[in-house]
């Protein structure tokens, strides 16, 4: 069992500093030693049982680095500072920081090509770790959203709860400003889902046709994943039928008129 603990010299209690090492190894910080981040707080012995606040924040280390990310760190920080969590004066939201949502020992951004359902589960897991009571069967929250749990399995909280325009957006909006318009997803131009679907791999995006979609079991979303080819064919057949019937009707009318005149 991986342990990193010591007996506190004054109280005699065991202080456990171990963390999930596999989690860290798979995270973006897998290359770092504990001490790279914890140098300042844990410099002295006995260690404090929590690192000092503000000591190691993501931005402090990352400010100058824009590698691999869709957005700069400074933008993320600014968005976060405007979010409900940062501006809330609720005592429950006091001390809210990047670490409230991101465990630095586990953090790994979603990668292109990861299954969408998996990404949705991970990202929604972040929000539900605090807002879990929303998904209880008895919860009346989001009742206007039909098949709520099916939605929460295929779209992310942040897709509705952050402004649609930007990329990886950290500006979580207050309830009354959040998106309620079904058509921002249920249409041929699902703006809200653009951010989620950018994680689709090249192959996924290349798969256009009617049957390719079926074979790869992509979810059918009403209004969004309709097949334009099928629609065009059907409408063309109906249009032709209308013309045919109109011509038939005209023929009947002319025949009768000719008969009446004769």
């Amino acid at each position: 069992m991986p342990t990193l603990a010591y007996r506190h010299p004054e109280t005699g209690e065991i202080v456990d500093l171990s963390i999930d090492r596999d989690g860290l190894a798979h995270s973006v910080h897998g290359e770092l030693a504990c001490i790279d981040c914890h140098r300042r707080s844990y410099r002295r012995y006995p260690h404090p049982d929590r690192p000092a606040p503000g000591d190691l924040d993501c931005i402090g280390c990352h400010e100058d680095d824009d590698r691999n990310l869709s957005r700069g760190w400074v933008d993320i920080d600014a968005e976060f500072k405007r979010s409900v969590h940062a501006v809330s004066d609720s005592p429950k939201a006091a001390g809210f920081s990047c670490h409230s949502c991101h465990d630095p020992h586990r953090f790994r951004p979603a990668a292109v090509g990861e299954p969408i359902a998996q990404i949705v589960r991970n990202h929604n897991g972040v929000c539900l770790s605090c807002h879990g009571s929303l998904s209880a069967a008895s919860s009346t929250s989001h009742r206007w959203l039909p098949n709520r749990d099916a939605h929460w399995g295929s779209v992310r909280c942040v897709d509705c709860h952050t402004p649609a325009a930007d990329f990886a957006n950290h500006e979580v909006l207050p309830a009354e400003k959040s998106e309620k318009n079904c058509v921002s997803c249920h249409s041929a131009d699902p703006q809200l889902l653009a951010r989620l679907y950018r994680f689709q791999s090249e192959e996924d995006i290349a798969r256009h046709g009617l049957f390719a979609k079926a074979v790869f079991n992509e979810a059918y979303v009403v209004g969004m994943s309709k097949s334009p080819a099928l629609d065009r064919l059907s409408l063309a057949i109906m249009g032709l039928m209308v013309l045919l019937l109109a011509a038939h009707g005209l023929g009947r009318y002319l025949a009768r008129r000719a008969n009446r005149m004769a």
Partner: protein
């Protein structure tokens, strides 16, 4: 003047309720399928309207099937196989040629049979073929959460959705033709009046036999 009472009250009630629900389903279904255009019903409204109309349509359809099986009306839905091919040819020829030459109808409405062969086959196909598929796929959509992930190796919601869409296009096509064909009665409105009043009226004193090609 000849009058036959061919459309009992229950049938007319069912029919006009069905027609109304069908138009509602088309309007709300199109609003969801093509969601985004602003001349359509709002999505959330369309969903509720569509589900409600679909449930009522199901009840109506079950009512039709039960009533049709238990009443006299069923006789009109029994195919006369012996003469079927000849009747179909005669009826098709009439719609394509005869009608423009003002030939008499090849089919004559009687107490025993109110549908010509084409009418009969299309009503049978619609009521006992397309409608049940439409209804089943609609209910499967409604309870899609409980569907298995895949069906025949394909995503099951996809299979359900495609079935529903294709069948509804076919039924919309039927509706177009249906509404046109009812104007080919003795006068443009005589069939429509029959479905409203229940009485089929004809002024022809002597039923004219259809001119047949075959000797």
């Amino acid at each position: 003047m000849m009058s036959l009472y061919l459309y009992p009250v229950w049938l007319r009630l069912w029919h006009w309720m069905n027609a109304l629900l069908f138009l509602t389903l088309i309007a709300s279904g199109v609003s969801m399928h093509y969601a985004g255009a602003d001349w359509l019903m709002p999505f959330a409204t369309a969903r509720v309207v569509h589900n409600t109309a679909g449930i009522l349509l199901t009840i109506g359809w079950i009512g039709f099937v039960v009533a049709n099986a238990r009443s006299e009306n069923a006789r009109h839905y029994r195919i006369r196989f012996r003469t079927l091919i000849g009747d179909l040819i005669a009826q098709t020829r009439y719609y394509m040629i005869g009608i423009f030459r003002l030939e008499p109808h090849p089919f004559h409405v009687t107490e025993a049979m109110k549908f010509n062969a084409l009418q009969q086959l299309s009503y049978l196909g619609v009521m006992y073929g397309l409608m049940p598929v439409l209804i089943l796929s609609g209910w499967a959509f409604l309870y899609s959460v409980y569907l298995p992930e895949t069906l025949f190796g394909l995503g099951s919601v996809w299979v359900v959705a495609m079935t529903h869409v294709v069948v509804s296009y076919l039924l919309a096509l039927f509706l177009l033709v249906h509404i046109y064909i009812i104007t080919t009665g003795e006068t443009v409105f005589s069939n429509l009046l029959a479905m409203i009043t229940g009485w089929h009226r004809e002024t022809d004193e002597i039923p004219v036999k259809a001119p047949r090609e075959t000797p």
